[in-house]
Amino acid sequence: MELNLSREDAAFRDEVRTFIAENYPQEMRVPNPETDLTKEQSLLWHRILHKRGWIAPLWPREYGGPGWSVTQRFIFEQETSRAGTLPPLAFSVTMVGPVIYTFGNEVQKKKFLPRILAGEDWWCQGYSEPGSGSDLATVRTKAVRDGDHYIVNGHKTWTTLAQHADWIFCLVRTDPNAKPQSGISFLLIDMKSPGVTVRPIITIDGSHEVNDVFLEDVRVPVENLVGEENKGWTYAKFLLGNERTSMAGIGRSTRYITRLKQIVKAEIPADDPAHLEFLRDIARIELDVLALEATELRVVAQMARGIDPGPAASLFKIRGTEIFQDITELTHRAIGNYGLAIREHPVSANRFMPGPDYGHTASEKYLNARKLSIYGGSNEIQRNIIAKAVLGL
């Protein structure tokens, strides 16, 4: 399905498509880019996009954005995701960058934004804590003012790729006596600071994506406070809005469905009754994708006319993640007995993995995808948002 594109937009789409085809690094085409690439490898595409001026579609032109329209941004998102390129690190480009250029001061903008664009700094997100998952406003990590520093103590968790990070943006409590939402500040912390410890959390797929981050008497210069003290909740919510926009994942789902069809064709003979079952299940998922894509295009068209999409992001997050879970589950089923095997991490060429190549990541994807309905605001929370903000319940 396509938007009705103007001649200019169609030309832009072709330009993006050609650029990806000609420039996406071959060495990033590994079985599972999320887990199989080194830090340097995963930054290759980031740097290519930066050179082209396309690294930060969302950003205003004055900070280094390309100055695209809503439609162009959508086309870019669609083309990169259809081509299966690894998205640039969201924590840097989509999350902390916009917070800094929207709420930060000039010094912070000058210091951080160019390094984010260039991929020189890798950012991670210090939001969740052991006691604060869905209920983020209860963060307990404390920042106490000491001269021109804050002394930070606390424990952040589920910190994605903190093992690579140069910086962490943190929600910290600066006023313990205020109501939960009003005592929070948004602090930028250098991961090299004394007192910062990263401990891996291994997930059920065997991969190391997330971490605990311990902060013990970490001295953070006051100049690393973004915006006003105790106003961090406002910035945090602004950032979460950005986090949830692109979770429909139409391009990714479409690619995985294409692969699933190939697997079913190869694994299940046409005269096996299960074949028809799979075709039916795949068709139902395709219709789910079609309906979500049509919804996304409708919202994009409305946004292009200046209409606020409201909590559409919650709808995209719910359906996008449910659809992708269904696809990974069906793929895992399609490979039959081979679904019993799983690649070992860290991935090593010496370790044996049975079965055809197309099945090698099916188990880990199936297991890893369970996180989708939990992270970024669980799907239960997203439903609460729609109930309240849309239905007025």
Binding site: S128, G131, S132, G133, S134, D135, T138, T157, W158, I201, I202, T203, I204, G206, V210, E267, I268, D272, P273, A274, E277, H332, R333, G336, N337, Y338, G339, L340, A341, I342, E344, R351, F352, M353, P354, G355, S363, Y366, L367, R370, K371, S373, I374, Y375, S378, E380, R383
Partner: protein
Amino acid sequence: MDIQFTEEQELLRSSVQRLLRDQYDFEARRKIAASEEGFSRKQWAAFAELGLLAAPFSEAAGGLGGGPLSTMIVMHEFGRHLVVEPFVETVVLAGGLIEHVGTPEQQQSFIPEIVDGSKVWTLAWTEKASRFDFANVTTRARREGSDYVLTGAKTMVIAAPWADYLIVSARTAGDDRDRGGVSLFVVDRRATGVDLQSFKTIDGRRAAEVSLRDARGQLLGAEGEGVAALEACRDRAIGALCAETVGAIGELNAATLDYSKTRKQFGTTIGSFQVLQHRMVDMFIAHQEALSLMQHLSLSLSAGDSALSRLASGAKSKIGYAGKFVADQAVQLHGGMGMTDELNVGHYFKRISSINIQFGDPAFHVLRYAQLDAAA
């Protein structure tokens, strides 16, 4: 219908419970699974000592005569503790086949070594293209003197790296997908011509791709009648795997309920949210239904009902879907913690996912259930 355990059965259950409680908590299990061999010979010996490996065999075959109900009791407890040792493979699959289709000589030769824990067995029937079809066999066996020699490849053979003997399905007649002409053979895992490539499974066990090149095998059961023997074997295996699933479901429900009463968000326990209450009620109902069906199946297995195989498929499907639902929700309700390797919840999730593949997934078995009805 609710099974009232006999004194003997109650004794079996309490002794398994005690053993696992004392020696097989989650940390012990983690160490066993991470060890080089991947299972514990010490535990295996303890199971033998306790009589677990003898429990289901008939007294004539050297067992304790507990039948499918004793398998159910053991496997339910094993499911609760995520036991990795190859009880199903050795006792239920291989032991069951030897007992049901083996010659008296084979029974006398093999079963005592299973019962005393000195030999581990497994069943190698899956092939690259077989999916869940016992008749889809390309491995060939030809007669050579009083023995046979086997050539072909078996895939995803669980517990093969641990096994002393494999029971291998191979074709002695017919075309690749013919029901007739498949025979079963006992193959020494260390015999010439048998090669293994080992790997880990999603549920922390070990399996192997097995290649056979002129490997010697001893016929087990009637030549050409292997598919029927495997089908009956699968019914017994389903009884065991369903009990294991139900044990896992019970633990997941208990852990989730407990977590929902202690985990606080938005100033209250998450168990006070109606949407999660209803979810946990559905998990409870799934457990009740699965438990009932498990008992129904085990009783039918004991009685040898004529419609047994259809019921086995029905149970594998229904209990498989129940397990999948509960496992999904247990992870979801535990939030990020449910995703971690550290917590046991994810490991139950993976074990249930693995059971749901073995001998056919729930979708395969609901279809078989329908087809057997249409054929009746």
